[in-house]
Symmetry: C2
Subunit: 237 residues, 2 copies
DNA sequence: GTAGGACCTTGCCGTAGCGACAAAGTCAAC
DNA sequence: GTTGACTTTGTCGCTACGGCAAGGTCCTAC
């Protein structure tokens, strides 16, 4: 029988950890001195602790370890197989994240396009017809908080734009979809940002599948910002 | 200006998250209605929030994001480069873990060898000479809590064993070293477990470099357990 | 006999990033 | 006026412990 510190040194954990395992019911001491409260551990506890640490190093949470310790071996093997697949999934996700970070390092930093999945959005819109995008400003009054959604160009000699309004107008529901969004930072040319966005989409082999939106956001103070948003297929990035 | 739920839906986060960002000082609303407490967000906050989410998806903690948002771009690039290397390290660690788990699946489950780094250990020992390992039992009295360390066989016709004792005996300090330990579970043949251990070392291309120890642990109740421990080089597993 | 030092106990706070409630106030529509 | 969607603050919960504090225990050295 050993005291808590001896067992801790033998296995390479802290006494604090052993007390924690005791509290959560994962590893109880073989005996507890009634008068002093000292914990005493025996060989059975050593063996159990080694198994605990072994499973923990495979990334299993303590809750699951507690279940597996007293389970038949078939269940243990199944759990191991599951975490192997889980780890491989995590590795793929991390590789993806690293690729994103490297992409940010390689990309000119004018915009930071990001893939996301948006739920359906309800808007109140008023339709307008424009001959040229430059006329957008004429239908986009400044305050308060106006949102302009430019749905798509049409080969009818102009554009059909949907201007969101505060109160009046027709309801329009955009379906849930995968998008790439880029918020154009203040003091950045929108045209340039749009070119960057399409170049980014091209490099990532993403195809545009739905409405392309250019949201002009005008603050109550007159501050102005633009969000570019394109619907894409959900290909891996 | 939008209320919290509108901004949350636009960016794809929860209102709870935005309130959290406000509390930790990461993203404050543009204005707060003094009478109702409602938070109002403008385009500057939208832009900042998009950057926050972008950096967060790269695995950066919120504390570091808070620093980077107002930092020069060079610092951002450096942070990105750092997390790329960090992610690659994590991927290597995960691949290692997956290999371990697959190894456990492939290994006969009689033992679970584990690599560890042990600090120096001080023992009080009494040296005995044995003609045959079976004589170990004669020098290993049962209670209380006796630990027998069998250092190594010698070609002098017998073994030199160091039996740890409670009070008397010479001090012996084992240096810090990398080891592979295996706790032989109760009701398992020690010889068979030893064979499994050496087979495992062989498959992992590990060489034994220091004292081989077979610790016989005897409990106060007479319960008996064996820990096999070999010192190895610190090759990757 | 006692003073030290190493060890042990319980307990509470902190970690990252929110999710899940709960009780109560706000706002617009019908 | 009432409903329903939305907001506020607050607290607890999650993982696997680390750190600290105040106090009790054990053994050795003088």
């Amino acid at each position: 029988m050993w005291r808590i510190g001896q067992l801790a040194r033998m296995v390479g954990v802290s006494g604090r950890t052993l007390r924690h395992y005791d509290k959560i019911g994962l590893l109880a001491p073989a005996a507890v001195d009634h008068s002093t409260g000292y914990r005493w551990y025996g060989v059975a506890e050593l063996s159990r602790l080694e198994r605990i640490r072994g499973l923990q190093r495979l990334g299993l949470p303590l809750r699951q370890i507690a279940d597996l310790l007293d389970a038949p071996e078939a269940q243990l093997r199944q759990a191991l197989a599951e975490i192997v697949t889980g780890i491989k999934r995590d590795i793929a996700a991390l590789a993806d994240t690293a690729a994103q970070a490297e992409d940010h390092l390689a990309t000119p930093m004018s915009i930071l396009p990001q893939q996301a999945t948006l739920g359906p959005r309800r808007l109140r819109v008023r339709h307008v017809r424009l001959d040229h995008p430059s006329e957008l400003a004429t239908v986009c009054p400044a305050p308060p908080a106006t949102l302009l959604t430019w749905l798509r160009g049409q080969p009818t000699g102009g554009f059909t734009a949907a201007v969101t309004t505060d109160r009046v107008g027709e309801h329009l529901t955009l379906p849930a979809r995968a998008v790439v969004r880029a918020v154009v930072p203040p003091s950045t040319d929108v045209v340039r940002a749009g070119q960057d966005l399409f170049g980014w989409l091209d490099r990532h082999h993403l195809a545009i599948t739905g409405p392309t939106m250019e949201e002009h956001l005008v603050d109550a103070d007159g501050a102005h910002a633009v969000v570019l948003e394109v619907s894409v297929r959900t290909h891996a990035i």
